[in-house]
Amino acid sequence: MTLPTQLVIRTLLYEPTREMYGLEICAAAELPSGTIHPILARLEQAGWLESRWEDVDPTEKGRPRRRYYRLTSDGAELARTALARAATSSAAVARLRPHLAGGAA
């Protein structure tokens, strides 16, 4: 799992039941705005995330609706497992490819 994906998941897991919109997730994950939509789409496609449109009238608000994202209950569980696995997987290289252990270079 890549670092940006981990940051997004950690952000969403901080309050798993809370809905957040794209810019909010970027700010909380300290990622540049406009960079997380592929990650969100991938997680949504995998069933880890669900999204919905904000229930407001754009004319009254004077802006388009926000798209809110939230972890599904299964997704939250899988995300926790994936984060834990990501923390331990680097040891696998040393075991299976000893000549490559000690860094990628």
Binding site: T2, S33, R63, L96, G103, A104, A105
Partner: protein, 209 residues
Amino acid sequence: MTRARIVVLTATESPRHACRCLVALAVCTLPAAQRARYAEEFSDELLELPHGEQLGYALRLLGRSWALRHVLNDSLRNSRVPRPRPIPVFATVAAVLVIAFSGVGVGVGARAAEPGDRLWSLTKVLYTEHARSVEAAVVARAHLEQASDALAQGRAGEALIALARVEDELQVVDDQESRAEQEMGAEQLRDVLAERPLSGVLTGKRGYR
């Protein structure tokens, strides 16, 4: 007149209008069925940002639009039927012998074993191709982690080498789901790398973007 030229012309008239054009270009790269959703989502985000941040947002959005398109088209690519691999003669004979003398349970257990398990050495004998695939998937995932860590610490060259190793290992991974997941992860990292000014690093023979 091309879309890019329109953007250049309008940029001189109004920076805000140029940002809208860049966002529109990003939306144009997405699959038709998803454009309405992302057009509205991106427009909202653009409007909520301070003026000084809008151009950067629009450029990053455009830079990521192909990655997003790739994700949205994934379901089509994953529907490809994988070509079955021939079963090696040696593995077949070994499997028959083990099942005959030790019972079906051992053979099945060996099929499900992973590196580090007690049955792993048996797996490598009985299911040579499968074992190679499982090992490669584990190693690829670890290299992906190395690439991610290296990138986070600013070691772009090391990240690229690790990504190249991910690509090599994935060549023999049979599990389509695992392979697709890791290919997408590698692509995300390459996207991050492509945004950084790395002299002489992004033009390797593998053609990283």
